[in-house]
Symmetry: C2
Subunit: 343 residues, 2 copies
């Protein structure tokens, strides 16, 4: 049996652990995994685009585990009462190719995305950073705020969203947790004087959430909303001015803010910064950009942690168990049975 964690059990498990305990564990695990980057079999995710959105598969493997995530992105889904992004993941055993775990991954994806953002910001934001503007307060917002509080000590969050209800939702969830919450009236107001600016908007277009005049020297930009071809959030002049860190260059040049730049625009992979092979922030006034698109390594890390948290439990009969593994036919079509009927 393959261990199955559906959305109900997943919610129970995450609630039992608590978001900060999971974020803490994720940040540590992500750091360890990024540090052993050369051990992974890497590939850009495989995307299938349609008019309404995108469906992606994100596989990765090391010597022990293989994982992939199925994830969509359909901005119009909210109008149907459905989610923009749903996801499920599979962890498999490299030695036999057998799947070990299948689980719902929407919330886990938001957690690992936030943990990755916070991990990168530890090396890219100014050490004394205390305030973060959060532009786009949809499904990702609270996770980002909590991760940055945990990893960097951010204590002021300035929210802005075109949808007042989404902004109110984020405020409600974040209130009472030692964070000063400001609902800004504009992007300008949210960004002015903030140490970190996180953009987490969902439109599948070349949006310009930030214009060059808004960005201040020394700010760290954490751009997580632009994550597929034709979907960006920053004006290209901002990207041109920033030192840009990405997860996995071949994927980020296709999907990230970097897609707006020429192929020789320099980007640095995060693992090199974590290993000290490339510098993090250089100087107080530098503008740094984590051009995050989400990478399969983060899912593998999250799935391994989930497997530990979940332990043994309900499973699926997703693999047949024949007495004789060479006898697939006999497994289903035993003699004198369906076979005769069909003839």
């Amino acid at each position: 049996m393959i261990r199955y964690v559906g959305s109900r059990e997943m919610a129970d498990l995450l609630r039992r652990e608590g978001p900060e305990a999971i974020l803490r564990r994720l940040i540590a695990s992500l750091r360890a995994d990024f540090l052993r980057w050369p051990e992974f079999d890497l590939a850009p995710r495989l995307a299938s685009h349609s008019a309404g959105g995108v469906i992606e598969l994100m596989p990765i493997a090391d010597a022990a585990f293989y994982s992939f995530k199925f994830v969509n992105g359909h901005p119009g889904n909210t109008r149907l009462g459905k989610q923009t992004v749903v996801a499920f993941g599979v962890l498999a055993d490299v030695a036999t190719g057998y799947p070990l775990l299948i689980c719902e991954m929407s919330v886990l994806t938001a957690l690992r995305t936030a943990a990755t953002s916070a991990l990168a910001a530890c090396h890219l934001a100014r050490p004394e950073s205390r305030s973060m503007a959060l532009i786009g307060t949809g499904a990702q917002a609270e996770f980002q705020a909590l991760a940055f509080r945990l990893a960097l000590g951010i204590d002021e969050i300035r929210l802005f969203d075109l949808d007042p209800a989404a902004m109110a939702k984020a405020r409600t969830h974040l209130e009472g947790h030692g964070l000063k919450i400001v609902c800004a009236k504009s992007v300008d107001e949210a960004v002015a004087g903030a140490d970190i600016v996180t953009t987490a908007t969902a439109d599948k277009t070349r949006a310009t959430i930030l214009t060059p005049d808004l960005v201040e020297p020394g700010q760290h930009l954490n751009a997580i909303g632009g994550d597929c071809p034709g979907k960006t959030e920053l004006h290209p002049d901002i990207v041109a001015r920033a030192r840009t860190i990405v997860e996995y260059e071949p994927q980020s040049r296709i999907e990230g803010e970097s897609q707006q730049m020429s192929p020789d625009y320099p980007v640095t992979e995060l693992w090199r910064v974590l290993r000290g092979d490339a510098p993090g922030r250089v100087g107080r006034d530098e503008i740094t950009l984590f051009d995050s698109v989400g990478f399969a390594l983060e899912d593998l890390s999250a799935l391994r942690i989930l497997r530990e948290i979940a332990g043994p439990g309900p499973g699926l009969d997703l693999i047949p168990e024949p007495d004789n593994p060479k006898d697939l036919f006999g497994l289903v079509f035993s003699k004198g049975h369906a076979f005769e009927r069909a003839a």
Copy 2:
């Protein structure tokens, strides 16, 4: 809820329908799908190779459906009492990106592989073909025999396998179904005078199941065992002599017998033959080769049929259903709950 068909329900459904009814339906559906080939969003499968085998994802989409299959290939698994190949598939809705169905696919894969082989052979084997050599009598063998009986009227099957138990298993399953079954003592004996030669061996090596001296003018070769880099079954001189039909050229040049040939070796995609844009067999003495590696289109076809056969039934809670789709955080971490505990 996503419809779930595990290995037990799958076996029940396939048994209820019977292998020939499903093969008939698959052949018709595959023909229709290959004929509308330009409507599909195609990509070579994404393979992750390790010392013991390979794990692959095989995605495809048309305007209505997206599907992918997870499938491994680990030849050493049989020594552990496990299967060489296990597989599961997912069918999703392109409009919303939501998964609709997840199901076990080992037997369904064998059925669709056999249906594709038979469909190709209808256009490539000599019309009067009556005998088929079946080299490698593992998990695929009986499906191939039945599909060729159904689609081409093959009535004589010559089995050969290095493993006598595997050969006996295939004979037992195939006996009593209007097929003359011969257990050959060698590849030579099985192939001599056969109209069609199917190779379905599993070693992950450059094997030479067939040598040029064995192949006779007019034979149709149905090579299904070679399906990843470094895994082939035919001597390259056989491929050089044959007119070669493939499923999807970019994938077959990497994975099929064609990987042994130079990039300018001519191959023809099956859909062109089915549409009459390229010829099938030309002349009685021509050697034709269906260099089959298995393509995602075949899985999509099979998954659509399975969805019809299965109808409504047990499902999985693989997608959370929040009251407010922008409120992923609130779905799991309600206030005054785990949140405080973790703080």
